[in-house]
């Protein structure tokens, strides 16, 4: 499929924005300006970018604990995200959710989730709404390789398949579930093999190739929109950093990480492709990058200068 220049550049912009956002998060975390836990998406940018570009504005996504990339790719605002991650009152959740609970219902972002696998039935429920209402919306459900071993994976995909719900289950296989290699925890070589248990299409693709992700998810979305039900897409990628910032990472070698960063960086690979195919000139791309750098810088300043939530916020939003 021949893609428009606009789409090709937009894919790059999204990946670059995620990369720079996450670098800033790591930096702010090391300065103690972010507390608790922040699970960053460095190295996995092509999955969220490619997948979310396959959606319309009013489609839904359900995200995970490693969710910043999904939110950015679905149109989340980096200033409100950064403010949330820094626990400020101007954040998406008034500082009450933090990194693991960013949501923007107006953008169709139904929330990150702190429980591994818990978003899978929630995405199924969003799909159920579309199935009942016939509203033609599609839900992308992001989850990791670890979540594919949870009971909710089986219950939800089976249910979605039974009703032919418009949900695309996107497994981001970043090779590790916390500190355990997928080789030790998965009974199959490819998570997509599990799709046969539910009688739905399954694909295992290179999650570091943004075009492959975009094309595969676009086809699955179209299929779901036509009422043909869910698909399971495994995007193989690699988590550059540990499970959390500060993870000692004694479960893998430095060489392995270096190899992925040097040879399989989804952004570098794509950038070279864009130049090679004359989609964009170096100068033009540098300008785009500069704009994003400014946006991230503004987001950091916005978050830093935003007020803390007032004490009374402790008590609001428990119930309607």
């Amino acid at each position: 499929m021949k893609l428009q220049k606009e789409t090709l550049i937009s894919l790059y912009q999204t990946m670059y924005k995620i990369r720079e956002f996450e670098k800033a998060v790591v930096d702010l975390f090391s300065q103690d300006l972010i507390r608790g836990s922040a699970h960053v998406y460095l190295g996995e940018e092509a999955v969220a970018s490619g997948a979310c570009h396959a959606l319309e504005k009013d489609d839904y996504i359900v995200s995970t604990h490693r969710g910043h990339g999904h939110c950015i790719a679905k149109g989340g605002k980096v200033d409100k995200m950064m403010a949330e991650i820094m626990g400020k009152s101007t954040g998406y959740c008034k500082g009450k959710g933090g990194s693991m609970h960013i949501a923007d219902l107006e953008c169709g972002i139904l929330g990150a989730n702190g429980i591994v696998g818990a978003g899978i039935p929630i995405a199924t429920g969003a799909g159920m709404t579309s199935w009942i209402k016939k509203d033609s919306k599609v839900t992308l459900c992001f989850f990791g390789d670890g979540a594919s071993n949870q009971g909710t994976f089986h219950e939800s995909i089976n249910m979605a398949a039974v009703f032919k719900l418009p949900v695309i289950f996107i497994c981001e296989n970043n090779q590790f579930a916390l500190f355990t290699s997928t080789n030790k925890a998965l009974s199959v070589k490819k998570v997509s093999e599990r799709s046969t248990s539910y009688g739905i299409p399954g694909y295992s693709i290179n999650g570091n190739d943004v075009i492959e992700v975009f094309n595969t998810v676009s086809a699955a979305v179209e299929n779901a929109r036509q009422g043909n039900g869910p698909s399971l897409i495994e995007c193989k990628t690699y988590r550059w950093l540990g499970h959390f910032i500060g993870d000692p990472e004694n479960y893998r070698t430095k060489e392995e990480v270096k190899n992925w960063k040097l040879k399989k960086d989804p952004i570098e690979i794509y950038k070279i492709k864009l130049f090679k195919e004359n989609v964009v000139k170096e100068k033009e791309l540098a300008f785009i990058e500069k704009e994003i750098d400014n946006e991230i810088e503004n987001a950091i300043n916005f978050a830093k200068t935003s007020p803390e939530p007032e004490d009374k916020e402790l008590w609001t939003d428990v119930l309607c």
Partner: protein, 326 residues
């Protein structure tokens, strides 16, 4: 007011019918709630009337049922999710406790979660340890959930309609031995607000506080106590959360004595919380005796008929507890 006599199960069924007519976003989902009409018959006829997309027969997947309710609620629907036995809520617990109850707060108030988790609880029918529990205290413990436990057809209907219209997740617990119990309800529509206990019998000597099926045990105990010259007040909480503290405190300032009765285990049960609220209030100064609890014993519910009835509160145990402090 024109009244009619119907069963507890039928009253719930009427509530579902009326609310599904009123609001097209209301739908039911769960195991055998569609064509079959519900394991206890509560969803009878909904499938025929509203079709398979509003009376949804799901696979046996409690986590996915509860989670689908969460996902469809945040996208604008008002699901009534049936968990066939409260004992199976363990499988759905993450979705009820970590998702439904917390989503609004975690999202800074952006989401509404108008979900009713309808479930069925209680012992007395020989279903043994995994189909007979009363687990309301677990849900009561969690901020973000409301907990409702009706005792009569009238309350069941009025409270279920209120639960469906509530924008918060409500755990609606029906006692399995109440479904066939009959009672009078008005022909016309009515709702019962949450947080308003019902004084089933007024009295001046002692306050007996209970809810769900145990209310009927308390009422017959109170009748017998009356013959002994003891005038007991019986309060039906109707909703565990919100709890009508005011009615409890007012009653105790009058009687000075209290017995709390529930079928659930005593350890960590609702009774302990109610006692704490009493001693933490102005009612403390009016207390004339220790507060007694008559509860299910802290054992798994046994299968054998004799052992099962030994595990549960009885009219006799309630009378005995009253006599200990009167």
């Amino acid at each position: 007011m024109v009244m009619k006599k119907i069963s507890f199960g039928k009253a719930l069924n009427e509530a579902l019918f009326e609310e599904m007519f009123r609001d097209e976003n209301v739908y039911v989902l769960g195991e055998d709630v569609g064509e079959f009409g519900g394991a206890f018959g509560v969803t009878q006829g909904l499938y025929k009337k509203f079709g398979p997309k509003r009376a949804i027969d799901t696979p046996l997947s409690e986590a996915a049922i509860a989670g689908a309710a969460v996902g469809s609620a945040v996208t604008g629907m008002r699901p009534v999710a049936e968990i066939m036995y409260i004992d199976f809520s363990t499988i759905a617990m993450d979705q009820i406790v970590n998702q439904a109850a917390k989503t609004r707060y975690m999202f800074g108030g952006k989401a509404k979660l108008p979900i009713v988790f309808r479930t069925q609880s209680g012992a007395g029918s020989g279903m043994a340890a995994q189909h007979s529990q009363s687990l309301e205290a677990w849900f009561n413990h969690i901020p973000g959930l409301k907990v409702v436990m009706p005792s009569t057809p009238y309350d069941a209907k009025g409270l279920l309609k209120t639960a469906i219209r509530d924008d918060n997740p409500v755990v609606f617990i029906e006692h399995k031995l109440l479904y066939s119990e009959k009672g009078e309800i008005p022909e016309e529509e009515y709702l019962i607000p949450f947080g308003e206990a019902n004084i089933k019998k007024e009295g001046k000597d002692i306050t007996i506080i209970s809810y769900s099926r145990m209310i009927h045990f308390c009422l017959s105990a109170a009748e017998e106590l009356e013959k002994q010259g003891i005038n007991a007040e019986v309060i039906d909480l109707r909703t565990i959360k919100p709890l009508d503290e005011k009615t409890i405190i007012q009653s105790i300032t009058k009687t000075g004595k209290a017995v709390i009765v529930h079928e659930a285990y005593k350890n960590g049960g609702i009774g302990g919380e109610i006692i704490a609220r009493i001693v933490d209030s102005e009612a403390f100064d009016y207390l004339e005796a220790p507060i007694k609890r008559v509860c299910g014993f802290d054992v798994p519910i046994p299968y054998n008929r004799k052992l099962e009835s030994l595990a549960l509160p009885t009219k006799e145990r309630i009378i005995e507890a009253v006599n200990q402090i009167i």
